[in-house]
Amino acid sequence: MSSFTQVVILCEDRQQEVFARHFLESCGIDRRRLRVNVCPKGRMSGEQFVRDNYASEVRAHRSRASHLNVGLVVMTDADVKSAGEKHRELDGALVAAGELVRKTDERIAVFLPKRNIETWIYFLMGEDVNETDVYSKLKTEGGCKRLVADLAAKPQYRLTDGVLSSLRGACFELRRILPSKQCVEVQG
């Protein structure tokens, strides 16, 4: 088990939350160390919620990162944008709030499902998917749990070219949260 004091998950909706939470739990992070900040249904767009809360979560993370073992996972759909565009957008939100852009050694991971989280789930189901089409929502969000656990159990595979590009990107981002050794060994 990891010794995290806390990992905060900032995300757009319940499906993203369930995916991220189970992914982190399956990678060995104790459920009691996870803290979720998810957009309330119907209050605003999930994308806007994440953008609005990103800077304050980063500021809070930085205020504790020097002396506590904390992490931040941010999840927001790339939609039709490229990963580069989304990262620049999030960097812009930090700069606008007077924060420095994310550095490579910070335990802040950004997951950018493209086109959205359902794309990843259908890919993990073995469907032939692309990152352009929109896929239907699952009947229950928990339907992704087993798929996510399987992915977490394959730390080598999830970084290979066989994995959907945006999902592979998230798995590389995960190494910011979990040390690369742990990424390989926890479930390996």
Partner: protein, 379 residues
């Protein structure tokens, strides 16, 4: 799954109907009728479970105060895959005689009768029960006492499996408002059901501990939720009585110390009770239990709420358990309302309860708990 509740002439519930999902959060001001819905459920469970006569379970003070009607009506619908069971109960309050009578009690499966107990308001009519077999053919017909539940009196037989299933499923609707100060540590005997405020926790756990599956599941979940928890142990106190002890691990892993249950903090006792409710409801198989929890987060430390809540949400989302939760806590409200599971209760003084789903976008960007605190939710 309990999918519909109807009540008329019960406190502030007048012609009140609520359709339910797998997880449901009841919000609203004090006195808006949330707990009255739980009371109705508890009374129906107790009545059909044979825990008392109609006058023991229901009271004349429960009638809506601003109405003159002396008939209370209740309905429940429980779905079992594609089948729907509908239970109907009407109670007559004969005020001049200070008596309560069952006016009718009926159970239907997919709109076909399983039992009908009719007590017409005629002096020459003897109240009668008409039973139906599982294939809905007419079964025995016999006179019955209007002070009791006819359903409660039926014993399981091979030709009434539907009726028996409904009775057993209804007994798995657990309605609790945990109050740790009232939870006792001494058990005189096993008790099958938790009491309203979990006063009988030790006796209920004594019953549950007969099932090793429940014990294993509960121990596992408690060790995750309370890293210091190790195990429960009953200590004999005389011939029948048992004292419940909770063994907590030393932080250096060298052993455990057994504390009397009431020596634990109120928060620890509440946490144990909540994880026990989860464990027992997860053990019986998908959809076997409905948990009705009135302010479950009371007494819990803030960091303990979300881990328990995510466990509950996952269980509900996967169909393992159904939950109805009353809460005023921002932590619970903001987390659960990331899904459309909220119902807003409201009423004016001496007027009936009204309930509406919470879903609409108000454009303020404020957390829902903050909108509620400001009184802006329905503005």
């Amino acid at each position: 799954m309990l999918r519909r509740i109807y009540a008329d002439n019960y406190r502030a519930l007048v012609n009140f109907e609520l359709k339910l999902g797998q997880i449901n959060l009841f919000l609203g001001p004090n006195g808006s009728g949330k707990s009255a819905v739980f009371e109705v459920l508890r009374k129906l469970v107790n009545f059909v479970g044979g825990y008392g006569k109609v006058s023991d379970v229901f009271g004349s003070s429960d009638c809506t105060r601003w109405q003159d009607s002396c008939i209370q009506t209740f309905e429940l619908e429980i779905a079992r895959e594609a089948d729907v069971y509908k239970y109907e109960l009407a109670i007559e309050h004969a005020r001049e005689e200070a008596k309560l009578r069952v006016r009718h009690e009926r159970l239907w499966l997919n709109n076909k009768p399983l039992i009908r107990f009719e007590n017409f308001d005629k002096s020459d009519f003897q109240p009668e029960v008409q039973l139906y077999r599982d294939d809905h053919s007419m079964g025995p017909r016999y006179p019955f006492d209007w002070s009791q539940s006819a359903l409660a009196s039926i014993f399981p037989r091979k030709e009434n499996r539907h009726l028996t299933w409904f009775k057993e499923r209804l007994q798995r609707v657990l309605v609790v408002a945990p109050v740790p100060q009232l939870m006792t540590e001494v058990s005189a005997q096993e008790e099958v059901r938790p009491s309203a405020r979990l006063e009988n926790y030790a006796s209920w756990y004594r019953y549950l501990s007969l099932d090793q599956q429940v014990v294993i599941r509960l121990n596992t979940s408690l060790r995750e939720a309370m890293p210091e928890f190790d195990h429960f142990k009953f200590e004999p106190l005389g011939e029948d009585h048992r004292l419940l002890r909770v063994h907590l691990r030393n932080s250096d892993g060298t052993g455990t110390i057994g504390y009397r249950f009431t020596e634990l903090s109120e928060g620890q006792r509440t946490l144990i009770a909540l994880y026990t409710l989860m464990a027992v409801s997860q053990t019986e198989g998908a959809g076997s239990y409905t948990l009705c929890l009135d302010e479950p987060e009371n007494f819990l430390a803030l960091p303990e709420i979300q881990p328990w809540l995510t466990s509950l949400y996952d269980s509900c989302s996967e169909g393992e358990v159904q939950a109805l939760v009353i809460s005023h806590h921002p932590e619970l409200i903001n987390y659960l309302l990331a899904s459309p599971v909220g119902y807003w209760f409201e009423r004016e003084c001496n007027r009936p309860t009204r309930v509406k789903p919470i879903a609409a976008d108000d454009g303020s960007g404020l957390p829902i708990s903050e909108l509620i605190a400001r009184g802006w939710l329905r503005e």
